[in-house]
């Protein structure tokens, strides 16, 4: 089972917080902070597993994370999940984001947290892996987007136009997430 999925940036700002077990909000924030401090002090070239310890659940749980440019993707899982499998799942998730947002960058996650959630919901459901085939995930997302479009969407076109203009004077625009596609140990590939 996956206990939690956290996405935060290099400064520890949460971009996606998804717990599959109930924690009160302040504990959630504390977990995000502690997790951030745990992964922050780790170099990029050391292993991607971390014993969660007292954070969530106890010794049965592990933190498995990947670091892409400005973002950390952290999955907290128990021993029933394959460590390397989860690493690949993170890759699948990020590649799906990349496809759905067309060259995803941190800004996409910042401004479309809801959409990121919807994409995640097609990958993981209630803490269990739902789908690992990226084409299938993307197809479902696109079908739902079409459905939403046919209903007129939440906010009509004008709001979009305004936000497009406002984007220009943002303080910092993070660079694209670099997805290093590594062909090694990719179980979903077959």
């Amino acid at each position: 089972m996956i206990q939690a999925i956290l996405v935060f940036n290099n400064h520890g700002k949460p971009r996606l917080v998804r717990f599959y077990q109930r924690f009160p909000e302040e504990i959630q924030q504390q977990i995000v902070r502690e997790t951030f401090h745990l992964v922050l002090k780790r170099d990029d070239n050391i292993c991607n597993f971390l014993e969660g310890g007292s954070l969530i659940g106890g010794s049965d749980y592990k933190l498995i994370y990947r670091h892409y440019a400005t973002l950390y993707f952290v999955f907290c899982v128990d021993s029933s999940e394959s460590e390397l499998g989860i690493l690949d799942l993170i890759q699948v998730f990020v590649e799906t984001l990349d496809k759905c947002f067309e060259n995803v960058c941190e800004l996409d996650l910042i401004f479309h947290m809801d959409k990121v959630h919807y994409i995640l919901q097609e990958v993981v459901m209630g803490g269990m892996v739902l789908e690992t085939n990226m084409n299938e995930i993307v197809a479902q997302i696109e079908a739902q987007n079409r459905l939403e479009k046919s209903e007129g969407g939440l906010s009509a076109a004008p709001a979009r136009a305004v936000s497009a203009v406002k984007n220009i004077n943002l303080p910092e625009i993070p660079r694209n997430i670099n997805i290093g596609r590594n062909p090694d140990h990719e179980p979903g590939a077959c």
């Binding site: 302040e26 390397l84 459905l147 209903e151 939440l154 009509a156 303080p171």
Partner: protein, 1151 residues
């Protein structure tokens, strides 16, 4: 209407959407909190608007704020509103918000049941999908029970997208509602062979999760999984299955044998590292489960170790980590194969990656031997000094202690070295594990008799520099060792070289800054020291010196008497009195030393921690029988004895010194000895059968061998373990030389002239090293006739225990998932109540036929459930009790934090349970059909109500072509499909086979809601049976009570007060006599039948609120007198209030 819509969309343009909110927060970096609270205010305004689009937008923003740590549970009701929107866009937003913030304690969650059911059966697969995804995050036992059947149906949905989601969510349903596992399992098993790989993978996933917790129930699936393993090409599925086999093999060794070959093939063939790794893992599990006497499997173990070595040597740190992880599993059963790779492990200890170092540490545990222990610990100690993070340092510390103490200290040959290592560890600042070190010190000092002298000298040195230990900033951790030091010095004071100096060290004023439980031990052991000194001085005939010590005690003890810690204070004052008494006796030149030291005579034996538990219950003693009459239930709730004393104090508490004169003391002691001698449960000092180290005779007869003279006994200042390492090496060297010499002599004697073997060639094996001290490691005592058992470490709180269900037993008829008849109050009742027979009897007061039926079904089921062994049932009950406790907790917490009382929920009461309530009342009935109905208003549409009609086929005929026609009045009109005339009926969208019931909904448009109305109508249908079909009719009268226009709306007490103050409400009141129902139940009834919510309740007085669909506020003040209830109502419309109160009166009259 059209104008309103235009206006709505213009409004919306000025509302912030999620992007605007995010942007706003980013632009207000300095005053973020202020900006957000402003936004929350705006959101609250938006939530009050009618437009569902505005609400959805607001909820979307709330979801973002939730991520930032803001509690959004206050909007739970609005979230439910958005969930029930008809558009997918909004629905998805609602479910997302719900999945982020709903949990078992959310009180409105029970309102979602019907909405979710509706979405699950929606024709759009994405509505269903969204509902399933949402539900997977917030499913509660109630929801699981009510929806289990609907979800099970979805497992056979035509769309694989729905099937896989339905399969996955079943796991959550099983967890919350274990009774559903058996009925649903056959279908779940079917899904293992689903044509869609996604569904198949989901089913494997669920069964793996289930089997991981209770593997033995899933053994029968092994052949199926075996087939899947050999046929599947999906690596995800393969990994799961292989992991599952890892859990199954320990239970069935034959399976293991069969697995080895295909797994070995996979290891050789696969290119996916993740699969390879899991295969290796499972092979290891298989090998562990097989008995070691199988020679041909050594090849497999070699293969595994060899593959793991490749992983560990890989440059990819992840593989290195996993390799070490798997290696530690092999270590447990095949230590020899791992020990060959010691070089690799030691190398990993120096890795820059902490995770890898930790794993390597784990492996070390199995690699130590007598020979290399000292060397390895030395290496670890150097890591301790270098380690930067406290977590890693603490881990090192525990590992050092683990490694050294494993298997009863079997690898330690020199305890002086070990004690000095422990003392050296006390220099660690900020560690959490002071108590671990302390426990080791105590354990070694007590159990290794030969080391006591040395230990005491080290401990007195430690006490002497206690200020160093205690002055570090985070002193709560490491100062625990002073606890051990003080106790050891006191208990074994006869070994002290300079007791006076230690005594003074323990009486320093600085000591009072230590934590209470340590001070308490100080006080107690000061007396032991004092007794030892007294005896020494008196024997030396130095009465004045003896009086000096007494004087010192009298001067210093008051500092403890003033302690804020109860335990310290109490002990100190007792002892102070004792010492003062001694002082008096000393003044009269009475020898006292003998008496005082008699206080501490006798030796303490180590007792196993489990000893008390293992005392067998004597025959004929029933511990569960009541000694007195059991107290009544009502008392036991609130009058639980509260723990007054701090737990820690209890733990460290020792029997107090009685304040009595010496004679009295001696007398009591004698009496106690007598009593103990006669008490079969007291562990007597005569040795019970104990395991002894090295087969030596009883403890008393052990010849305590002289400690090696080369060791200095008195170590001034900081002890350093290194010097003992050196000494130990020298000792071993000498030993070796001696041995060689002996051998040489022997050989010389035997064969003179032969070239002798060099000592340097001699390789030292473990057995050759003789321990430095003749060590007597006293085993912990156990009571006689202790029963061996492994039950000790099972956790009764494990939520997965309830899922330990036999799945191979055929399904009984009664084992069906509850099928929702239609909404009634049972759904909101927690399941545990139904299973308690006493309460069941009270509940049994069925109003309607169909309820009786349901009750019967439940009883049948109960009967069935009683069949399994008692043992199982007990577990079950316990689990349920716990669940109910859990449920209550969050509620209590909430009411405490809110300050105001929370709304009373229907049915969820802690007092005597209400009879089941149903808001459905009879509409009409004939021999074919029975109609019950309920009217619900909706806040979104101010002039519409929905009439839900449940149609139940009571005949043996098939009913079809049902049509409902109603005579509209001026005020109330049935909403008909477009293009149909006023006289047309509305078709019922389903047909009814015999004995089936279903619910149809009709919308009515209302103009004025201030008075109740009645509409006449007819249901026409065709009844078809074997003999033919007939047209039938059933007339009815729909009663629109004013209550049906009210919508339960939560209201906060401050808003309520404001409303009452505003003064634009008209008032009216009623009084009803002869009411016997409890107030709690009364309120629940009003809430349920009249759609009110409780704003605040004080004793027997409650304020309630509701809102009509057209926005009228209705406030009630309900007061309960002795046998009467008075209701004062305030409402923005006097006529409406009048009608409402009339209806209320009718309800109350029945109570």
């Amino acid at each position: 209407m059209a104008l309103k819509m235009v206006k709505g969309s213009i409004d919306r343009m000025f509302d912030k959407n999620l992007q605007d909110l995010v942007r706003g927060i980013r632009n207000h970096k300095e005053d973020e909190a202020k900006y957000i609270s402003q936004c929350i205010d705006e959101i609250k305004q938006e939530l009050k608007q009618d437009s569902i689009a505005v609400k959805a937008n607001a909820v979307c923003k709330l979801t973002y704020l939730q991520m930032l740590g803001y509690d959004i549970s206050w909007a739970a009701f609005n979230i439910i509103e958005v969930m029930s929107a008809s558009k997918f866009t909004f629905k998805r937003i609602g479910y997302l918000a719900a999945s982020q913030c709903f949990h078992e304690g959310t009180d409105v969650i029970m309102l979602t049941t019907n909405q979710i059911r509706k979405d699950l059966s929606s024709p759009s697969q994405y509505d269903t999908g969204v509902a399933l995804t949402g539900l997977s995050c917030f499913v509660t036992p109630d929801l699981a029970r009510d929806l289990a059947n609907d979800i099970m149906t979805l497992m056979s949905h035509t769309k694989p997208y729905i099937r896989k989601k339905a399969v996955l969510i079943m796991y959550k349903v099983f967890l919350k509602y274990p009774e559903s596992l058996r009925p649903a399992f056959p279908r779940l098993k079917e899904k293992l062979e689903d044509p869609d790989p996604g569904v198949q993978s989901a089913a494997v996933n669920v069964i793996c999760e289930l089997a991981r917790r209770n593997p033995k129930n899933y053994l029968s699936l092994a052949p199926l999984f075996f087939k899947l393993m050999t046929s599947s090409t999906n690596n995800w599925v393969l990994i799961k299955i292989i992991k599952l086999f890892g859990a199954l093999t320990p239970l069935e060794p034959r399976l293991g044998k069969k697995l080895i070959e295909p797994l070995t093939n996979l290891i050789h063939s696969t290119s996916a590292m993740s699969l390879l790794y899991e295969c290796v893992n499972t092979v290891i599990a298989v090998l562990i489960s097989l008995s070691s006497g199988m020679p041909n499997h050594s090849a497999s173990i070699q293969l595994c170790v060899q593959k793991l070595r490749i992983l560990i040597e890989d440059s990819d740190q992840n593989l290195k980590y996993l390799g070490l992880l798997a290696m530690s599993k092999i270590l447990r059963t095949h230590p020899k194969s791992v020990q060959a790779h010691k070089d690799l492990v030691l190398q990993c200890l120096d890795d820059k990656d902490e995770s890898i170092r930790l794993r390597a540490l784990d492996l070390l545990y199995g690699m130590v031997s007598k020979k290399n222990l000292v060397e390895i610990v030395k290496k670890l100690m150097s890591h301790v000094d270098k380690a930067e993070g406290t977590t890693y340092r603490d881990e090192l510390l525990t590992k050092i202690i683990d490694i050294c103490s494993q298997c009863n200290y079997q690898h330690i040959t020199n305890f002086q070295w070990y004690i000095s290592v422990l003392v050296e560890l006390t220099r660690l600042e900020g560690t959490r594990h002071g108590h671990l070190i302390a426990a080791q010190m105590l354990d070694v000092a007590i159990r290794v008799k030969a080391i006591r002298k040395f230990a005491v000298s080290q401990m007195s040195a430690l006490l002497d520099r206690a200020h160093l230990v205690a002055s570090s900033t985070q002193r709560n951790g490491i100062c625990e060792v002073l606890y051990a030091a003080a106790w050891i010095c006191g208990e074994f004071s006869e070994h002290l070289q300079e007791p006076q100096q230690t005594l003074e060290a323990m009486l320093r004023p600085k000591v009072t800054t230590l934590p209470g439980h340590i001070q308490a031990v100080y006080v107690q052991n000061v007396v032991k020291l004092y007794a030892a000194i007294l005896q020494q001085r008196e024997q030396a005939a130095e009465p004045e010196a003896a009086q000096d010590v007494t004087q010192l005690m009298v001067e210093r003890l008051p500092q403890f008497v003033q302690s804020a810690d109860l335990e310290v204070q109490e002990r100190a004052s007792c002892i102070l009195q004792l010492v003062k008494h001694i002082q008096k006796l000393q003044a009269k030149d009475v020898p006292v030393a003998e008496e005082v030291s008699a206080l501490f005579a006798g030796e303490l034996n180590p007792v196993a921690p489990k000893a008390q538990k293992k005392v067998p219950v004597p025959e004929g003693l029933d511990l569960d029988a009541w000694i007195n009459e059991p107290p009544s239930d009502s008392e036991s709730e609130d009058e639980k004895p509260k723990a007054i004393f701090h737990e820690e104090e209890q733990r460290h508490g020792k029997p107090r010194q009685p304040e009595a004169d010496e004679e009295e003391l001696a007398r009591r002691r004698e009496a106690r000895k007598q009593e103990q001698a006669n008490n079969p449960f007291y562990i007597k000092s005569s040795p019970s059968p104990q395991k002894r180290y090295q087969d030596l005779p009883g403890v008393e007869h052990i010849p305590v061998v002289q400690i090696d003279l080369s060791v200095p006994l008195k170590v001034p200042g900081m002890p350093v373990s290194d010097q003992y390492v050196k000494l130990e090496e020298e000792r071993r060297h000498r030993q070796r030389l001696e041995k060689d010499r002996k051998k040489k002599k022997k050989k010389d004697k035997e064969r003179k002239g032969k070239p002798r073997r060099r000592g340097s060639l001699h390789t030292e094996s473990d057995e050759d090293i003789a321990p430095a001290q003749q060590v007597d490691i006293v085993t912990e005592e156990m009571p006689e006739n202790a029963l061996p058992s492994d039950e000790d470490d099972k956790d009764p709180n494990d939520p997965y225990r309830a899922l330990d269900i036999d799945l191979d037993r055929p399904l009984a008829d009664s084992e069906k998932l509850p099928v929702q008849k239609h909404r009634n109050a049972d759904t909101s009742k927690s399941p545990e109540k139904e299973d308690v027979p006493v309460k069941e009897r009270k509940i049994k007061k069925p109003k309607k036929k169909e309820k009786k039926h349901k009750e019967k079904e439940r009883e049948k089921k109960k009967g069935k459930e009683e069949k399994p062994s008692k043992h199982k049932k007990k577990k079950h009950k316990k689990e349920k009790e716990e669940r109910s406790k859990d449920k209550k907790k969050p509620k209590k917490k909430k009411s405490a934090s809110d300050g105001a009382a929370e709304p009373v929920e229907n049915g969820a009461l802690d007092e005597d349970p209400l009879p089941p309530m149903s808001s459905y009342c009879l509409l009409a009935e004939n021999s074919y059909i029975k109609m019950t109905y309920d009217i619900q208003g909706s806040l979104q549409k101010d002039s519409q109500v929905t009439v839900s009609v449940v149609l139940e086929n009571q005949s043996n005929s098939f009913l079809k072509n049902m049509e409902l026609s109603v005579l509209d009045s001026l005020n109330t009109k049935l909403a008909r499909p477009e293009g149909s005339s006023v006289h047309d009926g509305v078709p019922v969208p389903f047909q009814l086979p015999p004995g089936v019931s279903n619910e149809a909904q009709f919308v009515f448009t209302i103009r004025s809601i201030v008075t109740a109305q009645k509409l006449k109508g007819t249901l026409s249908f065709i009844a078809k049976d074997d003999e033919g079909s007939t047209h039938e009719k059933l007339d009815f009268q729909l009663h629109f009570s004013c209550t049906s226009y009210l919508v339960t709306t939560p209201c906060y007490s401050d808003a309520f007060a404001k409303l009452l103050e505003s003064g634009d409400l008209s008032m009216s009141s009623i009084k009803v006599d002869g009411i016997s129902m409890s107030f709690q139940n009364l309120l629940a009834k009003i809430c349920f039948h009249h759609h009110f919510s409780v704003v605040e309740r004080v004793d027997s007085c409650a304020s309630m609120y509701s809102r009509s669909i057209q926005g009228h506020h209705v406030c009630l003040l309900v007061k309960k007198g002795d046998k009467s209830v008075s209701v004062d109502g305030k409402c923005s419309d006097a006529a409406l209030l009048g009608s409402l109160l009339e209806e209320l009166k009718a309800t109350l009259a029945q109570c």
